[in-house]
């Protein structure tokens, strides 16, 4: 019924983040926030960021979406806390590449915990579920309010 690719995509790690995200909350105070929309499927994520100078010190998100998109948002929050804001666009590019190809070459250490999400490359129509929160994060740091999966 469920092949290896499915079992890798819905691994215990991803399922835990997808069902009981640790960062799935609106921050009481935040310095930047943006919404990501996937107009084709209705997924939506709002990302909140608190900064200390150029460092991201706290993140949170509110989302409606599938387990993959919520797991991706949660893992993203874990990965970027403590990172320099200037590093985020590069990390987002690496995540996009990993989601599309399954490979993360010269992968930043911060992204190691996202490795299970690379399984999504076997499911082309689901790649956007992984990349949407990152689009919103990049938009928020650039001062934007909205991002789209398209």
């Amino acid at each position: 019924m469920f092949d290896t690719a499915v079992r890798e995509l819905y691994s215990a790690e991803i399922r835990r983040h997808g069902r009981t995200p640790l960062h799935g909350r609106r921050l009481e105070t935040f310095d930047a926030s943006a919404r990501g929309d996937n107009p084709m499927c209705g997924d939506r994520v709002q990302v909140f960021i608190r900064r200390d100078g150029d460092t991201i010190c706290e993140t949170g998100f509110e989302a409606r979406g599938c387990e993959i998109s919520i797991a991706s948002a949660d893992l993203m929050c874990e990965a970027v806390e403590g990172e320099a804001t200037s590093a985020i666009p590069g990390l987002a590019d690496q995540v996009e590449a990993m989601a599309r190809t399954g490979l993360c070459e010269d992968c930043a250490a911060a992204l190691e915990r996202l490795r299970p999400l690379s399984a999504v490359h076997e499911f082309p129509s689901r790649v956007k579920c992984v990349t949407l929160p990152w689009r919103a994060l990049v938009a928020a740091l650039a001062g934007g309010k909205e991002a789209t999966s398209e």
């Binding site: 019924m1 469920f2 819905y10 209705g42 997924d43 939506r44 599938c66 387990e67 993959i68």
Partner: protein, 413 residues
Amino acid sequence: MNVMTRPPFDVERIRADFPILQQLVHGKPLVFLDSAASAQKPRQVIDAMVQAVETQYANVHRGLHWMSERTSDAYEGVRNKVARLLHAPDPREIVFAKNSTEAINLVAHSYGRGVMQPGQAVLISEMEHHANLVPWQMLRDAAGIELRVARISDAGELDMEDVERKLEDGRVGLVAVTHMSNVLGSVTPAARLAALAHTHGARILFDGSQAAVHRTVDVQAIGADFYVFTGHKLYGPTGIGVLWAKRELLERMPPFMGGGDMIDSVTFERTTWAEVPHRFEAGTPPILEVIGLGAAIDYVEAIGFDAIAQHEAELVDHTLARLAGVPGLRVLGSAQDRGGVFSFTMQGAHAHDVATLLDRNGIAVRAGNHCAEPLMRRLGVDSSARASVGIYTTPGEIDALADALLRIRDFFA
């Protein structure tokens, strides 16, 4: 073909006509439950298009040569077939468009801006596809036409009292509603709606994208003024849709697009329009697609809409019964009169995750908002999965769906 001489409905014989149904997906036999998005094509349609392009192809309405004349005859012959399919009195009332969306945009432009007056209103319903919503919003913003939205009940049926309330002041010039919801499967009471619209001085358009696939459509018996459908859901090719409208209305409507084939005479100062329907068919039309649509109409008419409707009614009963046996599954809408479209949510599992797991088992369903975002909001769901049936769907495929959903439920438990 006489109904009495028609062979009995044999789903296995029909399936043999659809080459794609032999395909494996992820190593599993394809269970195609996404016909409401676009249906598969029988060999007869594929062959008709190939044969046309190999043996009888030229541009239509132009060439003074044998090939063009034959192609024009074939093209215009399909207009007759479409008129017969819809029980329209006059083939000149059939306008070929790209799809239902373009046909509705044509009406919004040519009737909405060309005939309706600012201050009038268009009445749609809460269960419209974006194709029967966005063109009217554009008309509202461009031409000062009000847009009204009739409510639906929680069962997914049109609230006829609300329809009447919104017609009462006599300012609605056009009612534009679905004949069958692409999300809920609800079939609207077309003749009753048309009578109600006419009582209040409004014209009525039906979006028949779903309905025309599943049952006999008689635009005269309904009392419709406009009716649109699309070829690719009727087992025909993409790129060809149909607008039917009463001739007296088409005569009053200015063209939608300008170009070749839609003119009578052209000077740099002035152009006069061709007669209907050519006035609305600017440029080289989708010739091969029209021929494919003709073959699709021949195909479904040979099976017969009575048999198609009977097959579908059995599948509807079977599907609802099987889905009711999946704990935590909720089918959206429970209209009395419904077709073979089933949108559902599953407790504890998001629609996209459900659709992905079904796909890995060879079962194709749609997931998302089904181009009906306001309806999803009205129903209080963000997203749903949707299974929809076609003439080739078997009860065994519905069993495969239900069995897979039971396992998916366990997977997500």
